[in-house]
Amino acid sequence: MKRAITIILTLCMVIMMLSGCGGGNAGNVIKIGVYEPSSGDNGAGGKQEVLGIEYANSVLNSVEIGGKKYELKLEIVDNESSNDKGPSAAAKLVSAKCSIVLGSYGSGVSIAASDVFGNAGIPVIGVSCTNPQVTEGNTHYFRICYLDPFQGTVLANFAVDEFKAKKAYILTKLGDDYSVGLGNYFKVAFESLGGTVVEETFQEGNSDFTAYLTTAVNEKADVIFAPTSTEAASLIIGQAVSQGIKIPFLAGDTWDSSVILDAAKGSDSKIFVSTFFDEGDDSAAGSKFVTDFKKWLNDNPEKLKNNGGNDIVAAVSALGYDAYMVAVKAIEAAGSPDPKKINEVLWGVTYSGVTGDIAFDDIGDAIRDVAYIKSANNSDGSWNFVAIQSVK
């Protein structure tokens, strides 16, 4: 018995080593790396982002450079939403010789892997990592979403405009750069608009939010700002509903997910999120994307499951789609699969995507000045478009 197991284990090991060593780059393939979480805290969001990228790849899977046709192939790794697993996942992409990388959902992992890509000279397009530190001080990280200072300010403005809010309760997750960062920018903006804030944090793995919500009520907060992952969000909403809390919730782009709609459905909670994209967008590009993407989702049960079991288009999917298209544009413009060349031309790439026009400024951030505000419709479980908000 033991001997048999030993032999099997050794064999497995040998096979693994062989398979681990294999995987060279075939002639006419350009690899686009996808550095996204599919497990961990941000797994749900990461998967939706990957869906957008995969969909884009199914729409456009080849590119012609100098008369030669190259196949575009995705190389997807799971960074496990974890800053310590991220670098080795990134190294996997680097060693697979990707020409350009997309990702990640979650700013912390993006920052953590930044140097790995940077040292290898591979450009990265951040899809929905909104923390300023991602692109700051380097030349290889770009991003196509807006930034937290912008988003925080937008939401603070919205809180004051819409609810005449004087006091905000901010709930952020410890150790989550996105959450802490956005909370901080909201606080700064909200205070500069004359409001006061109460801040609290929760630990990873926490599932009891009743105490936090009670504090929000006792402090007589006018709005609750909770930029958290969707997992925490659904817990917060559920417990708020059962406690009968009527204070409106505000949150950033992460809450733009069907998970939130499910949690809020049938209750009388008020949820407002800022996001990059609105499904009801009536621009030609936007509506075409929404229809086709939904069809693609519904044709693939597996993909539908990854989207959370329904075909509501998450903003991050749209962003993922755009990021892919920008990457392809850059490859075309560079006229080569060489990462260094792509990096150089990326600065000048412009693209009209489903989430708006994209061009990079001198830090590598997309120039964006509007955010969509949506609210959850509690009766039919969909998003209601509220406003396009820009900063004053």
Binding site: S38, S39, T201, S207, A211, T214, T215, S234, Q239, N306
Partner: protein, 294 residues
């Protein structure tokens, strides 16, 4: 009165959380009492119970899916003991503990694989998920039911242990494992029975817990599991009333800490409490002192 009005929700939440921890903590304390094993996988068995309910209730009515969930959990608890702990009965303590960590790792990863890492919405169980108002606080009925149900189950368990034959065997084994083996106690079946009771209570605990918190994730069992274990140690491991009282103390303290705004330290406080009690009274509040024979 004003103080009570504003802070009632914290206390309520504390008592409810305490009840849920208590149901998990009993599983820890019973297994530890008999095998001297920290069953790190217990929290994950609790998590699996949550997922079982999610998947079963998707296709079956509640009156079938709830008993099924309990059965699955009990079978899982039994199987874990059978496959991961029994072969190591004579191995050093550390190996068994590591096996427990391995099982916990395995269960979490399997859950991750099956759910593809996405959080699942827990089904609403009628009546107990409705909201009620107590004084100034609004909460779910389950919050109120939890401590009551916990106490009822604990009393039943204490009676079982005190007055039945198998209960006597369990007590004998907790006192002296080797001697009870020599006296003809069927240790394997008693151990299996212990795991079955522990898993049963964990399944009930998961029903109450997830009705309250509504989302199941693969790591949902880790923190409650650890806290429940701390509660068991706090109360004096091996002692069932100790585990229950420890669980309530920890549940309430945790929420009181949040009430004062020390949210960063709410988990840390639990552990600080544990260390203080361990250093001051190494056997916990109600633990029995054992002296090593030299």
């Amino acid at each position: 009165m004003e103080f009570l009005n504003t802070n009632l929700p914290y206390i309520l939440a504390g008592i409810s959380v305490g009840g849920q921890y208590a149901l998990i903590a009993i599983g820890y304390t019973m297994v530890y009492g008999i095998l001297r094993l920290i069953n790190f996988a217990h929290g994950d068995i609790f998590m699996v119970a949550g997922f079982a309910m999610v998947y079963l209730s998707a296709s079956l009515p509640l009156y079938i899916s709830i008993p099924m969930t309990i059965i699955i959990t009990v079978v899982l608890g039994f199987a874990v003991e059978r496959m991961a702990y029994r072969p190591l009965r004579t191995a050093p303590r550390m190996s068994i503990m590591i096996s427990a960590i391995g099982v916990s790792y395995l269960l979490q990863n399997c859950a991750w694989y099956i759910t593809s890492g996405l959080a699942k919405q827990y089904p609403t169980i009628p009546w107990i998920s409705e909201s009620i108002s107590i004084g100034t606080a609004t909460t779910k009925i389950v919050t109120v039911i939890t401590p009551v149900l916990t106490l009822v189950l604990v009393i039943a368990l204490v009676i079982l242990i005190k007055y039945t034959k198998i209960g006597m065997a369990m007590r004998a084994m907790a006192k002296d494992f080797e001697t009870s083996r020599l006296m003809g106690v069927k240790i394997n079946s008693v151990i299996s029975f212990t795991f079955i009771i522990g898993s049963f209570l964990a399944a009930i605990g998961s029903l109450l817990y997830f009705t309250n918190y509504a989302t199941v994730t693969p790591i949902a069992g880790a923190m409650p599991g650890l806290k429940a274990f701390v509660a068991a140690v706090f109360g004096g491991i091996g002692s069932i009333p100790g585990a229950v009282i420890g669980a309530f103390i920890i549940g309430i303290c945790e929420n009181v800490i949040k009430m004062f705004g020390w949210t960063t330290f709410s988990d840390a406080f639990t552990f600080a409490l544990l260390i203080i009690i361990l250093v001051a009274k190494p056997t916990g509040l109600f633990g029995e002192k054992s002296t090593d024979k030299v």
